[in-house]
Amino acid sequence: MESISKECTPLKQEYDACFTKWYSEKFLQGEKTNDCAELFKQYQTCLKKALKEKGLTKMIADARPAIGSVYKDDLLDADKDKAQQQRESNKP
């Protein structure tokens, strides 16, 4: 399956393949170590950039409470931190 961003497609497909193999061979047998962490980091970096460019970041953050997600969006937080820093530096 292709990613919403063509650039991220090879990274996504590589991660998906690693994940399904790991899920079937390790996770279901009770193993807690994540074999695919490095691949996921690369895919996620690409994806977060694409989500920001497509303007989806806020929409995702707004929808999280309704589904009980434990995640916070670090892109959105990064924007907030930047805005906060600017406000601080603009103070007399």
């Binding site: 399956m1 990613s3 399904t20 279901l28 009770g30 807690k32 996620q44 995702i60 997600s69 995640y71």
Partner: protein, 182 residues
């Protein structure tokens, strides 16, 4: 508000069905699901529970009234899930993001071993569809149309999962045959 509830038993064990869930897309029964992205995924080091957040992009033909109200036929859904490999439970909660000010669709899914036959898997699905009162006289009609579409998608969704399960079983069979041949 419309409520949708369905239960189904897949005649396969929970390990296989939960794996099929992760391999579900793409499949030819559910062409409306165009993209599935993993936003976050991690294992809890203590409980071993797998937590995942996914972004799903759906595009399908919709009645003209819906297309006009929603401004198009593409939508994004956010999904959060937890998989417990010891308890053998997979719980998923999803919510539409696009045009959520007009219509809210929240869905809850549970996969667990069938209490009547532990080598089978019980699938319990429930959803709530609510149109905004701002739609006034359209609200009921919009809910009806969306409920019907949800029901259709749920049906092909099950068929899609069965298809993926068959594929997984065929792959396992091929591995066994290759080992026997050696």
């Amino acid at each position: 508000m419309r409520l949708f509830e369905a239960t189904h038993v897949f005649k396969h064990d929970w390990d296989t069905v939960s794996l099929a869930n992760w391999r579900k897309y793409p499949n030819d029964k559910t062409p409306h699901v165009r993209h599935v992205e993993v936003l976050n995924q991690e294992i809890d080091p203590e409980t071993g529970i797998l937590r995942t957040e996914r972004l799903i992009m759906v595009k399908q033909n919709v009645p003209t009234l819906l297309k006009k109200l929603f401004g198009g036929d593409a939508s994004y859904v956010l999904e959060y899930s937890e998989v417990d490999p010891r308890q053998k439970s997979m719980v998923m909660q999803s919510q539409n993001m696009t045009f959520s000010n007009i219509l809210s669709v929240g869905e809850h899914i549970l996969y667990q071993p069938d209490p009547d036959n532990l080598s089978h898997t019980q699938f319990v699905q429930s959803a709530q569809l609510k149109a905004s009162t701002a739609l006034c006289r359209f609200a009921n009609k919009v809910e009806d149309m969306c409920w019907n579409r949800f029901k259709d998608n749920a049906q092909v969704g099950k068929l899609g999962l069965e298809q993926v399960v068959s594929k997984i079983l065929a792959e396992r069979q091929a591995v066994v045959m290759a080992q026997v041949a050696e």
